[in-house]
Symmetry: C2
Subunit: 239 residues, 2 copies
């Protein structure tokens, strides 16, 4: 099994994804929020690239969630804080969801054979699902506006560690994956502090979302794996 990591969405070409299992990671905060919402009883998340598409698709019984500039979008029900997506809010609900980097990364990954949403919150479950699928794995770090984001890279490193530890077969990891794996091993004892000090963590803390950063640095809080299904609209549901 080959495992490769892309440091930003911009780097990914469709041909890199064909017949692969793609794990999209946006730790701060889109995929952490998606994992939490589905863990808390939401029946489906519809990822949309633009605010206009999200508004157009929203219906009476759906919740509208997401962010621009890290803040809740005007008229939306929810922002991009995973803490907002509690069972009392999201249980049994469909959520139309758009964020700056995360939902874009999902849309750029459509050529993959199976597309999973990964985060620290469900890293081990994601690794096990990828192993079950028995395909080569591409991990797409969403990043921040075409720049690498440390939290996504470290999460890629964690998922690689879990795949390697649980794999029966030999895994071959590309150079960027090895770097992320080694970096993760060196910080895993103080993950929350590391995330609070990275660029996105500092930005979110400055505008009042420090608790989100701490929450998103929890490893394996959940065992659900959001899998992308359907077309028009796309939907993420628990596997």
């Amino acid at each position: 099994m080959q495992i490769d990591v892309f440091s930003t969405v911009g780097e990914v070409r469709s041909e890199d994804l064909t017949q692969k299992t793609v794990i999209v990671i946006d730790v701060l905060r889109a995929t952490s929020t998606i994992v939490s919402a589905l863990a808390n009883g939401s029946v489906a998340i519809h990822p949309m690239e633009t605010v206009g598409q999200a508004r157009a698709f929203a219906m009476e019984d759906t919740l509208l969630g997401g962010e621009r500039f890290c803040k809740k979008i005007q008229g939306f029900d929810l922002g991009n804080s995973p803490l907002e997506y509690s069972p009392s809010v999201v249980a049994e609900r469909r959520i139309v969801f758009t964020t700056t980097n995360g939902t874009r990364a999902i849309h750029k990954s459509l050529r993959g054979e199976t597309i999973l949403a990964g985060s620290f919150l469900n890293g081990n479950a994601c690794a096990n699902k990828a192993l079950q699928l028995k395909k080569d794995v591409v991990i797409v770090c969403a990043g921040t506006k075409d720049h690498f984001a440390l939290e996504d890279g470290l999460c890629a490193g964690y998922i690689i560690q879990r795949i390697r530890e649980n794999a029966a077969q030999v895994t071959n990891v590309g150079d960027l994956g090895v770097a992320m794996y080694q970096a993760y091993l060196n910080v895993h004892g103080h993950l929350a502090e590391t995330l609070l000090q990275c660029e996105s963590g500092k930005r979110l803390s400055r505008i009042g979302y420090q608790d989100d950063v701490t929450y998103c640095s929890q490893v394996d809080l959940y065992t659900n794996v959001p899998v992308l299904r359907g077309h028009n609209p796309l939907e993420l549901q628990n596997d």
Copy 2:
């Protein structure tokens, strides 16, 4: 002082480099070879982007060195193995030099205020030179054909570690730099083994250059820092 790392040449835009100290890294093998040649008495290295330019510029008293597909170019005096650039071969000589990734990375870095060639062989000296220059630092990992190369990232991590340890002022390191720094810390006890297992290391070993990989993984063997000077032709000389 701000320190940023670019994972490949392709990512770098000229405006990222203006007024910065740029450290170009191609551990396997261009910058390791440049550092070694100048440490061994070569008076200047002229980096050329193409084989044609190198041939056109070569004169009777210059050596022609470099590679394509990791091998010595037909009609050239020397390949890209640092072990070829011994004192008896290069002392007092000018070398016209072209490689697939390293010399291209140097040419893409011309907008920097000062351009240095870095490697594990001179990492500490490079860090100290960057500190003396008192400018923000951009580390350009040459990579391999627009893909990240682990050995370059780890060397960036090492240079960041040396800058941080020797800096009187506070240093702020971008996310990719932090990842490389953490990865370096986790492998620094077994650097040669790590380089032999990375993609370039395996490729070079397969075609008989395993000794080059081991040689290039030596930390601070030299104290010289190649600095880019001149125009038409460019030349790298010891600081």
